[in-house]
Amino acid sequence: MAENVTPRVRVPKEATAGEVITIKTLISHPMESGQRKDKEGNLIPRSIINHFTCSFNGETVIEVAMEPAISTNPYFEFQAKVPESGTFTFTWIDDDGSTYEETKEIAVA
């Protein structure tokens, strides 16, 4: 497991029913591409987050298949429709099988 992997997510706290909101996510991860060499000239093995999902109350907002060309500390910005109060769940899957998860509540007024 990569060290110090911390997800950060920005979601508004409130919305009106059916409102479209902007969500931003950033997770600390080296995204080692598998293309780089160390000082001795040996290839550094690939170690990336390869999958990201955002869902709301169990329904998918966006799913991303990620390749090594995604930059260090992967960042995503996208939009979600908020039909009712509930919970956004964000999941990142590491090459090594680790899963990083974050949740955010949103209240529909």
Binding site: R8, R10, T72, N73
Partner: protein
């Protein structure tokens, strides 16, 4: 856009147009740096009196592309803030074997507001100019009885980024007179000394040629008000001394070491060339 106009080619164009104006040309598109719609950053200011050859000083932010500039305008977009968050957690973590953490003496990181702006600074008890890193290590070793942190290590750099972040928007104001003067003079001498096989002094690029292109890169004044800096180039927070080292190495010289008296002196001098700009760290650069 002013940023484009400040490139060498644009200067030439201005010259052809018969304009005698030498000041950057402001337009409606000119961007100002305001972080989180809240913290106003001074990115250009009149040069401090001690500078003989420069009239106006500019933050490195001014020389970056719009995309890079944008990354610093919102803490969520700024990957350097990951390090700040790590340090915030570290601030409350007990150091060494004892009970002491940063928070034992300094209630919160916010209690250290203003500190970044005045470092490097003369330390009366030690009888020397200290950088922020040296001060942190003094706390770590002498107050908390723990092993010192690596001067340019991740833990130190993140802590310095945290301490900088709470001073953002405050003017850099390092003292160069009194007991600090001797160190400052030493730093100034280093700044103007040509090093390496390429025989380049800091001043050759960052005073004589700022605004020009060095290959495809827009040369800045080499200001350090934005350190630690998250660089797109290596995807991490970079320290001032590592940056100095990179520059000196590229002159094909044996470099001074991070934390060495030479780099401490140089840091004080270069910081003083930014007196009047805002503390920006952690900034985002290419």
């Amino acid at each position: 856009m002013r940023q484009t106009l400040r490139t060498g080619a644009a200067w030439a164009a201005l010259g052809l147009a018969g304009s005698a104006a030498l000041a950057p040309v402001a337009t409606a598109q000119e961007a100002n740096l305001v972080i989180n719609d809240e913290i106003e950053i001074v990115t250009k200011a009149p040069a401090p009196e001690h500078m003989d050859y420069v009239r106006e000083i500019f933050s490195g932010w001014e020389y970056r592309s719009r995309e890079t500039q944008d990354l610093q305008m919102d803490d969520f977009e700024n990957p350097g803030m990951i390090g700040v968050d790590n340090a915030r957690a570290d601030f409350d973590t007990a150091l060494g074997d004892g009970e002491e953490s940063c928070a034992s003496c300094h209630e919160s990181p916010e209690a250290l507001e203003g500190v970044r702006a005045v470092y490097p600074k003369w330390d009366e008890a030690k009888g020397e100019v200290q950088t922020l890193e040296m001060q942190v290590n003094e706390c770590v070793t002498e107050r908390a009885g723990a092993e010192p942190w690596d001067y340019t290590g991740q833990r130190m750099t993140e802590m310095v980024a945290l301490i900088s972040s709470v001073s953002r928007g405050m003017p850099v104001d390092v003292a160069i007179d009194g007991p600090a003067e001797e160190t400052w003079e030493q730093g100034k001498e280093i700044y103007y000394t040509r090093y390496g096989q390429l025989e380049l002094a800091c001043a050759n690029c960052h005073e004589d040629n700022y605004d020009n292109m060095i290959r495809a890169d827009h040369l800045s004044q080499g200001q350090i008000n934005g350190f630690p800096t998250y660089r797109l180039k290596n995807g991490k927070l970079n320290t001032v001394h590592d940056r100095f080292k990179g520059c000196v190495r590229d002159t094909r010289a044996e470099t001074f070491s991070p934390g060495s008296p030479e780099f401490v002196a140089l840091e004080l001098y270069v910081a003083s060339r930014g007196n009047g700009l805002s503390v920006e760290g952690p900034s985002v650069r290419n």
